[in-house]
């Protein structure tokens, strides 16, 4: 029966005695088919309950499924049998990220890169964890190490831009963001983030004319991202283009209707555009949303 189910996933070829090896689980996992990967690996572990390989694989699969607590329990069991690799520790750290414990994540990532200093992804994750902890200075070195190991990695350059901006080095930030944009040009799915970050920085520096095409590209790549629409609207308002600004900010509000701060910004925009009634409506909505949950976390 199990073999029949596996055969439904045509791109992964599994032998009839699949449960005798971990190959199927690994192949499904590599193909990002997490459910059959989990089922196959669990079946393997029933037959091989002391397999550290099986436990580590299941831990990785569960981490990908955002099931951090159980993932960690399998990593713990596996580690009692065989020392984890540097990359295993990276995955463990990702579990702690899912559990919102960035200090634990940073701790395990530090050990991960000690064991496996050539692991660019671990260095990147360490940098990101430090950023999440607010340690922008501390994030720089791991990100730079990651970039050295994997040159022209756009996402790393983008994060270095964020770090540089936080370190009050806006010119350096601009350079990193431009690198990030250039390095992802050949990617099949470029990210809107470096466009967004660079455009936002330029808007803050009162350079809306330069920011506009970047933010327009961000919206093109991620039309339903509220942040991209919000920042484009800001640049448009700074340029005096109230009509387009209202369009984009209204779209952001539609995408995130319970966002108190977006309603507030739209209200102010309407007011500046000479539409007091609509302004009042939006500001009232903002007030109601803040009043009901004066939370800094947008829904």
């Amino acid at each position: 029966m199990f073999g029949v189910q596996l055969l439904l996933h045509a791109q992964v070829a599994c032998p009839r005695d699949a449960a005798q090896t971990l190959d199927c689980g690994k192949q499904f996992f590599a193909a990002q088919q997490l459910k059959p990967a989990e089922a196959s690996t669990r079946q393997y572990l029933v037959l091989h309950p002391d397999s550290a390989d099986g436990m580590y694989l299941l831990g990785r699969i569960l981490q990908e499924k955002n099931e951090a607590a159980e993932s960690l329990s399998w990593f713990t069991k596996a580690a009692a049998i065989r020392q984890p690799s540097g990359d295993d520790l990276r995955v463990v750290a990702m579990d702690y990220v899912l559990l919102n414990s960035y200090s634990d994540a940073a701790r395990w990532l530090s050990r991960s890169v000690q064991m496996d200093p050539a692991n660019a992804e671990a260095w990147y994750a360490l940098g990101r964890s430090k950023m999440m902890l607010g340690d922008m200075h501390g994030a720089r070195a791991p990100l730079e190490r990651s970039l050295a190991l994997r040159p022209k990695e756009s996402k790393v350059a983008n994060n270095l831009g964020v770090v540089a901006e936080a370190e009050n080095h806006p010119e350096e930030a601009v350079a990193f963001y431009k690198d990030a944009i250039e390095w992802q040009l050949t990617l099949p799915h470029p990210s809107e983030q470096p466009y967004l970050n660079l455009g936002t920085l330029l808007t803050t520096q009162q350079q809306a004319a330069e920011a506009l095409p970047l933010l327009a590209e961000a919206v093109k790549l991620a039309p339903d991202d509220p942040k991209c629409n919000e920042e484009l609207a800001r640049a448009e308002e700074q340029q005096g283009d109230f009509s387009h600004a209202i369009d984009h900010l209204s779209h952001a509000v539609a995408l995130q209707p319970k966002s108190a701060h977006l309603h507030f910004e739209l209200g102010q925009l309407y007011r500046h555009a000479g539409q007091p009634e609509k302004a009042k409506q939006e500001l009232t909505l903002s007030s109601q949303l803040y009043g009901s949950h004066s939370s800094d976390a947008e829904p």
């Binding site: 607010g134 009162q206 942040k227 004066s294 800094d296 976390a297």
Partner: protein, 605 residues
Amino acid sequence: MKCCCLTSCFVAFTLAVRCGIASAQSGMQPQTNSGVNTGAPHAAVLDSHNRPITAGGTVKTGPIVFQDVAKESGLATWTHRMGGAQKNFILETVGSGVGLIDYDNDGWMDIYLVNGSTYEAEAGKATPPHAALFHNNRDGTFTNVTAKAGVANDRWGFGVAVADYDNDGWPDLYVTNFGKNRLYHNNHDGTFTDVAEKAGIALGNWSTGATWGDYDGDGLLDLFVPGYVHYDMAFPPGKGRDGTVTSCRFRGAPVMCGPRGLPGEPDHLFHNNGDGTFTDVSASAGVEDKAKYYGLASLFIDVNDDGKVDLLVANDSTPNYLYLNKGKGVFEDASFASGYALNESGRETASMGIAAGDITHDGKVDLFNTTFSDDYKPLYHNDGDGSFTDVSYRMGIAEPTIPFLGWGDAFFDYDNDGWLDLMEANGHVYPAVDDQSWGTSYKQHPLLFHNNAGKLQLVPAVEGSGLAVLGVERGLAFGDLFNDGKIDVVISNMDGTPTILRNVVMNKNHWIELKLVGGAKTPRDAVGATVYVTANGFRQRTDVTSGGSYASSSDPRVHFGIGAATSVDKVEVHWPGGVVETIKLPGVDNIYTVEQHSGVGKLVK
């Protein structure tokens, strides 16, 4: 606010440290990671000596604007005290204010400094720290007359608001505390009597920066008292029954908890009944603070020029309030409609103090709020009709303020050029910041921005000058302490001695100062009046207020620098209640008393 959520990143990432919980109990704001709402972590800006810019950044040479004369004046004999050095609890971190008051009507500003307290004193095991009233000796020195005056307070004190609430011509003191507040009635003989209980305005938990204003136009000053956190000293936040203290975290480091996550203390508006008593009208007036936001400062001032004082409340880590006075004793909550509730990004700020003044000579009152470190301080331009736009970035003053944690603030013209400048007092709430590389510091120096014809520019602090003095600064009051036409500043430093910034600007600019005296149907001390002075080719505005700057009260006399002008073209007084008078002044470079209906300014002897 930045976002860098790459498609392959491990979690949605944001620069913001804020990460709250969606639901909240009534009156309790959801707790953030840190207990405060502030901006994204900013990396350190260090000076050439590797000091955070908040504790350094001084220049070796340049014009010296202020000198600290606390020691010479005698004020340094008094020390503020608030809780323990570790600052485990929010009650120990907020600090106190300062009030300028001419309590003996001799024409010279005296100084009242509020003190905090200690756990030992609260438990009756030690002598409580005393507030201090310093009498101005008119020779640059001050004498501590607290004991004789009977204004030691002896409670865990925070704020002071000065006004003549009973229109007897003698200024009184309202002192806010954790515990019952005081209304020190001036007995006209150098002594005061606490009549708060009898007046019905003692309250009982945690009150902060109060303001006086005649909101209903009956000629009697009413009182607004913001509430901060509803605090229980027996069960402070984070302290377990076994005495252990659980810290909250700011940027990953353990710090005291709050205000978010703690129950708020509501605000109160008290109507002056004219017989020495007050009635709580918070609900009927529409200012009852149902959300129990964390109020720290408040100010009655007319922001929409309809002749009625409106009400501003600076709330910590929650939206600010702006109540428009609609007449007949009722306010309209225009906090969001006005744009004052939040900053430019639509984000709540940890507001501590309010400065109000017309910085562009358009005749309208602009506002400036101090906020937490890692956050810029919003400057709200008055667009008219009670609407405001945060122009801090546009004006170029956002960036320099980010590392500082601001408290007291004020607009005043320190160089008498006719343009209101801006000062803010600074100091952190977490002593642990000195162990971190966050680019901020526990002790900080004040910031001064010079107004260059409507553009604010940071004035560098010269080494050894008053602007370079470090302290855990809190309250700030300004006024002409030495009656020389130059505005001085008093800053209350938490757990330290106060700073007196004596104005030593060397220029030949001219000035006038007016002490307003209201008529029969007007508050006697004219709190709520607006004065317009035309001279030197432009028209300036200043308002008589009581409150605003964190927990502090400034010189009630209105001051105008007039630059090179040797006369004023016009003085127009808009008295509370709506009477407008044009005043003739015999000259300049003097302090004049202007009595309502007299039409002239009389030289103060």
